[in-house]
């Protein structure tokens, strides 16, 4: 599903340049649930943003579902983001003036789905994350956990090949975190490929594989036996 080879990324700040990713190589198969770990500043978010096509690598190759992601024009990049990728952020990034339902429907709007179908499908996803009753509430009327569920529903709405989540439980207490992880595991059980960035060991243990980053290189990559989140709820 994901193949990256020799990925490099530096941030330029004035005269200085900070080399953040120093040659990352790894593959993710369809249906995997991978957690990316590492200390703060190790480049986890940078890597995920590149995988999510929110940012671009300086060097190396990235192939997503057999499509080389390289020098795409803006329009094509937008279409790939829409079709292939679903993003979940630590800070939710919901549009605050739109209801939960309208937020979920947004990727479908950019797919050109008509309004009534958009609403119907978005409602189904909200039901899936257990928030049908909150469909018409604005984000500021929802708890952190609920917001993250809306964000997950939104990420799923366009039926992407890969879900990318950056510290998706970072702003939540542990009970809510486990509920969210339970949802993530269910979605993964249905066969969807998911990558989560986390620095919490217990969250990482709920995935099926842990990739450890340090100073911009992978120092460890191993499969684990998944801890089911439902047991901790």
């Amino acid at each position: 599903m994901i193949e990256i080879k020799n990925l490099h990324k530096s941030y330029k700040m004035g005269k200085n340049s900070l080399h953040v990713l120093k040659g990352i190589n790894f593959n993710v198969e369809e249906g995997e649930l991978v957690s990316i770990m590492g200390s703060s500043g190790s480049g986890k978010s940078t890597l995920l943003n590149i995988l999510g096509m929110l940012d671009e690598a300086d060097e190396g190759s990235y192939t997503l579902d057999g499509v080389p992601i390289k020098n795409l024009n803006e329009k094509l990049a937008a279409q790939y983001r829409n079709k292939f990728l679903g993003f979940i952020f630590q800070s939710f990034n919901l549009i605050n003036y739109k209801s939960a339902l309208d937020n979920v429907a947004l990727p479908l709007y950019y797919q050109g789905v008509n309004r009534s179908e958009r609403m119907e499908r978005s409602m189904a996803y909200l039901e899936k994350v257990g928030l049908a009753a909150w469909a018409h509430h604005k984000p500021n009327e929802l708890s952190g956990g609920q917001k993250q569920r809306v964000a997950i529903a939104r990420a799923l709405a366009s039926d992407p090949k890969v879900l990318l989540a950056d510290e998706l439980t970072g702003a939540l207490d542990s009970k809510t975190s486990y509920e969210i992880m339970d949802l993530i595991q269910q979605i993964n059980d249905e066969g969807r490929t998911i990558l989560v960035v986390t620095h919490e060991e217990d969250i990482a243990q709920m995935s099926k594989r842990i990739v450890n980053l340090k100073d911009g290189v992978i120092i460890d990559d191993r499969k684990i036996t998944q801890v089911r989140a439902i047991q901790n709820v």
Binding site: L54, R81, Y110, Q111, R115, R154
Partner: protein, 414 residues
């Protein structure tokens, strides 16, 4: 391009961002409103000033006869020239210039003029209706001599305010009679003259009546003409000089005067005196154009700023939309669609409100220097279109920039 789906999206955005929509709309509406009012006031100013100086800008060309200084075609020098109705007609028929006001004048030396026991010595002048404008006599009671009075040779008189005070005191003179050389003339009007008391000691009567009842035949004492106001002084100068020269030529042929004779006819042409007024009026026009352009510029800058701020404020939202798969063009389209829609609607409101206000209040405004402030509708509409375009252009660049930046950078914006 403006699909139904996007209309829905735009409506949703503006209805759910009421404060922002209101603030944008309000500033655009008030901007247009102020602009319309300013344009209106400056038009009013221009009207006012032009009407203040309108009269002074008028060049009155008068012709008086004199005595010949050169003998010509068998006539001795020193011959007294007499103007007649036919000479006046010759000028009218042959003038190549458009004449605005015109009148011959016959002056009577009538001696004492009385009403009851009051009497005084006043000038009596036989005139045509236009003479009112040549002399700038302001009617304060009744009316001036009209064309009909001349046709039917009525014994009507329009008296100066001084005459009225002398002969009638506080009594209303209208319909009463004054005695001129033993003849009763009915007073039909009273005038004041900016020239003051001296000018108000005159009495105007129809020239046809005067010529008949005072046995003048077709004699006239002088004649006066004005030409319409021109765009600028140079044109006015050219027209009036051409008119005066042509009139002199015509009359000299008609009256058999040596073309080189300088004392047989006096043509007074005070065009030079109007120069300053023309300069003043054109300076005013330049000034108000400047004011108009400056206000418009202020409006454009205002709208542009609003658009810049809105796009800035929405950077994060743009990032989110991009992360969800919005194409750059759709971002630009959304922002422009929204801004054009809001500017157009609120601009229209401001425009209508301003126009209605001017329409209602305008005609009541009659200060010395502001008269009937009003705005040309098509100028107002083009102003609105210009502002909408300015808003769109001003919105386009930040929108385009926002649509082009990497989603991750947009998302980082707080």
């Amino acid at each position: 391009m403006f699909s139904l789906e996007r209309w829905q999206e735009v409506f949703e955005t503006i209805s759910k961002n009421k404060l922002r929509t209101f603030l944008t709309g309000f500033s655009v509406a008030s901007g247009i409103f102020i602009l319309v009012i300013l344009l209106g006031v400056s038009v009013g100013f221009q009207n006012g000033i032009e009407s203040q100086f309108q009269n002074d800008a008028e060049n009155i060309i008068n012709v008086y006869p004199g005595r010949t200084a050169l003998s010509f075609e068998g006539f001795n020098k020193g011959r007294r020239i007499q103007l007649r109705n036919e000479d006046y007609d010759v000028v009218l028929e042959n003038s190549k210039q458009e004449i605005e006001f015109k009148s011959p004048m016959y002056q009577i030396f009538a001696g004492l003029i009385s009403h009851g026991n009051n009497s005084g010595n006043y000038r009596v002048e036989g005139v045509l209706p236009d003479y009112q404008y040549l002399e700038k006599a302001d009617i304060i009671q009744g009316r001036f001599i009209n064309a009909n009075d001349n046709k039917t040779k009525e014994k009507y008189a329009v008296i100066g305010n001084r005459v009225k005070k002398d002969l009638f005191q506080d009594e209303s003179p209208l319909g009463k009679y004054i005695q001129v050389s033993g003849l009763n003339f009915k007073v039909v009007g009273v005038f004041t003259d900016p020239g003051g008391d001296r000018e108000e000691t005159r009495i105007y009567v129809p020239i046809s009546t005067a010529q008949i009842v005072f046995g003048a035949g077709t004699d006239i004492r002088s004649m006066g003409f004005t030409l319409p106001k021109e765009e600028n002084y140079e044109l006015a100068l050219k027209q009036s000089n051409a008119f005066a020269a042509q009139m002199e030529r015509l009359l000299k042929i008609k009256l058999q005067i040596d073309p080189k004779d300088e004392s047989a006819l006096f043509i007074s042409n005070n065009i030079e005196n109007t120069k300053e007024i023309y300069v003043l009026i054109s300076a005013m026009q330049v000034f108000f154009w400047g004011v108009g352009i400056a206000t418009l510029l202020a409006g454009i800058i205002g709208v542009s700023n609003i658009m810049l701020i809105i796009v800035k404020e929405r950077t994060k939202e743009i990032g989110i939309r991009k992360a969800l798969g919005a194409e750059p063009l759709s971002i630009v389209g959304m922002i422009l669609h929204e801004s054009i829609f809001v500017t157009a609607i609120s601009g229209l409101f401001g425009l209508i409100f301003g126009l209605v206000l001017l329409e209602i209040v305008g005609p009541f405004i009659e200060l010395d220097f502001i008269k009937n402030p009003s705005v040309n509708f098509s100028i107002a509409v083009s102003t609105l279109l210009l502002l909408i375009a300015a808003g769109a252009i001003a919105g386009f660049f930040p929108a385009w920039r926002g649509a082009r930046i990497k989603p991750i950078d947009a998302l980082r914006d707080e």
